[in-house]
């Protein structure tokens, strides 16, 4: 799937799990990265700390992972069978151990209610303590983007990562967000340098993140404040008046837009320069929207594969616009949807309370232009239906 997507480097996921570690150890390693079918893999896992905050950890070597596993063995009960284990240490203790084993650590989906560092610790300093100056990145998560995260002084100097948070190889999960990272060499050390604090400040630096690609934050399932049971959305003021209880009885989860609003302390003129954040949506989701079919259907999968035959891989459609021309004639509807995504010409119904948002990439006018029938989900030029009594 990584090859279909066009990814060069992926995180292994679950590298603390003994079974996963055993499988990875069979692969050839070079400069701290493993290789499988032409894809580079970095040892990576996500863990939950004592406060339920999630962290991303990268390691350069199997031996370092094994050392870390031994060091936390007495602080976890589920590392032998959980892909994302709970380690009963505070963020600062966790970071100190990761650094001892030459790993890299940073907050996963930093704003997510109940599992993000900011909602749980209140600040990065509270989480990482004296290790904070060694933290170089934050993962924005699916419901946030650079525009939401940038106006926070505590994130200045930290690199923003737009990662998929994929826990499965589905085309809807893997590569749904990605980063373009410039490296002098495809190695763990170069990757480490690109993720160091302030690495992105120098536009001439060799190793740095040069672009983020991610979902429009409205598509994320925690973008707005909403009920986790019936998914009705609330303003933050209304939610507080309701004491975070929905009239349906469900709990109201604070949305990332409101969480970001709370931590915002920089004005527009004070915002740090950041790599551009481009909006993307997984190709199978675009296919599902355009053809009004399930993205999980075999038909969507067939179209996905046919498009890849033409353009090579999915990400090339987002990154290299020339590739988009290759599909324009055969898949005009998909091509137009991609153009609309670039230009922001799409309608959104924001997600919240755990329900993913919805995005409509083609307007009724687009559909009419494409097929002459506004109500048709099909986009082929099917002509005008005549009546028998016209003949």
């Amino acid at each position: 799937m990584a090859r279909k997507k066009g990814l060069d480097l992926i995180g292994s996921g679950d590298c603390l799990h003994p079974g996963v570690l055993r499988e990875i150890s069979k692969l050839p390693i070079s400069d701290g990265l493993f290789e499988y079918n032409g894809i580079s893999i970095v040892l990576q896992c996500e863990v939950e700390d004592i406060n339920r905050a999630h962290h991303i950890i990268l390691f350069p070597l199997i031996s370092e992972v094994e050392g870390f596993r031994e060091a936390v063995r007495n602080n976890t009960n589920d590392m032998e069978y959980e892909g994302r284990p709970t380690i009963n240490l505070f963020g600062s203790e966790l970071a100190e151990l990761v650094h001892r084993y030459h790993g890299i650590i940073g907050p996963a989906h930093i704003f997510t209610p109940h599992t993000g560092t900011l909602p749980l610790y209140g600040s990065l300093e509270n989480c990482y303590g004296d290790q904070l100056n060694r933290i170089g990145f934050v993962e924005l998560g699916l419901s946030a983007d650079t525009a939401l995260a940038n106006p926070m002084s505590q994130l200045a100097g930290l690199n923003f990562l737009s990662n998929s948070d994929a826990h499965s190889p589905s085309p809807r999960r893997m590569g749904r967000e990605f980063n373009i990272i410039q490296l002098d060499k495809l190695s763990f050390e170069s990757l480490r340098r690109s993720l160091e604090r302030n690495a992105g400040d120098d536009p001439n630096a060799t190793n740095r993140i040069i672009a983020n690609y991610g979902l429009p934050p409205e598509k994320g399932r925690y973008h707005l404040t909403g009920c986790s049971s019936c998914h009705v959305k609330f303003t933050w003021d209304d939610a507080r008046k309701q004491r975070m209880r929905c009239p349906c009885g469900g709990r109201i989860k604070r949305g990332i837009r409101d969480i970001c609003g709370q931590h915002r302390d920089l004005e527009n003129g004070e915002l740090p320069e950041r790599p551009l954040y481009h909006y993307i949506i997984p190709l199978v989701d675009i296919i599902g929207d355009v053809y009004e079919i399930s993205p999980d259907s075999s038909k969507a999968s067939d179209i996905f594969d046919e498009i890849l035959v033409l353009c090579g891989n999915e990400l090339s459609l987002f990154v290299t616009k020339e590739k988009r021309e290759l599909i324009r004639e055969r898949f005009p509807s998909v091509s137009l949807a991609l153009d609309n995504l670039d230009s922001g010409k799409f309608e959104t119904i924001p997600g919240g309370g755990g329900e993913y948002g919805k995005i409509k990439l083609l307007s009724d006018q687009d559909r009419a232009l494409l097929c002459g029938n506004v109500n048709s989900g099909r986009l082929e030029p099917t002509g005008e239906q005549k009546s028998l009594f016209e003949f």
Binding site: K299, E306, T382, E384, Q385, L388, F391
Partner: protein, 244 residues
């Protein structure tokens, strides 16, 4: 008065043909048989059906018009096993049909025929004619169903082609003259039709039957075939889709 006894398969053939176009229909009975002609509400498809009294085990009918829900009749027929004899009776001065088979009896209120008009058959000049085994056309439709919602039909002096193409691929049936029972065509013609209508029409034809089609250029198609052991005749008309 009406008193008909016939095999369930005969009634099912009639019902399947009509349900392709409408759910409620006017049946015109006379001493020689049954006649139905109806058009769908969008005026895209028409069916004309005649069924002779020879199709039934017993047939006694006065001149009469009967409005019937084919959906409801179809549900009753679905309860009968293959080969079951079905009896239809309508007594004088009543507005219900009594359907019986085995130990079951179903009385169905007749529909007012005032709203079930019988359309005039358009006078079409269709220059091309082909006759082909129904199962060939059925296969072409099956392979096309998940591609687009229309199908293109072409005929020239040497071949008959059914095809469609869309974003997800294409499908094509090409039959040369030697494979056809009949082909008459002086100049090439092509018409395009809504696949959902066309597929329902073709599905209502038994696989082993021959189907005769008359075509014009961007013109309606006339589809003819027999039912009930050649004791009945069906003609469908389907309006084309035309590229603007």
């Amino acid at each position: 008065m009406l008193h008909i006894v016939g095999k369930v398969e005969t009634f099912r053939e009639l019902v399947d043909v009509v349900l392709t176009v409408v759910e409620e229909v006017k049946l015109v009975f006379n001493p020689e048989g049954i006649r139905i002609r109806t058009v769908d509400p969008a005026h895209i498809a028409m069916v004309d059906l005649t069924l002779g009294k020879e199709a039934f085990e017993k047939y006694e009918a006065d001149e009469m018009e009967v409005g019937l829900s084919m959906n409801k009749f179809s549900k009753v027929l679905s309860l009968a096993e293959a080969g079951t004899e079905i009896t239809l009776k309508i007594a004088n001065e009543t507005n219900e049909v009594v359907i019986t088979f085995g130990n079951l009896e179903r009385k169905m209120i007749l529909i007012d025929t005032a709203n079930l008009t019988e359309p005039k058959m358009p006078d079409l000049k269709l220059p091309a004619t082909i006759t082909v085994q129904a199962h060939e056309v059925r296969q072409a439709i099956k392979i096309s169903m998940d591609i687009t919602d229309y199908i293109s039909i072409s005929v020239d002096e040497n071949r008959f082609i059914l095809e469609n193409s869309g974003d997800t691929g294409s499908a094509k049936l090409e039959l040369l003259k030697e494979k056809l029972e009949e082909l008459e065509c002086e100049s090439p013609i092509t018409s395009m039709f809504a696949l959902d209508y066309f597929s329902k029409m073709i599905k209502s034809i038994k696989k082993s039957e021959l189907v005769r089609m008359h075509l014009g250029n961007a013109y309606p198609i006339k589809v003819e075939f027999t039912i009930a052991g050649q004791n009945g005749m069906v003609t469908y008309l389907l309006a084309p889709r035309i590229e603007s």
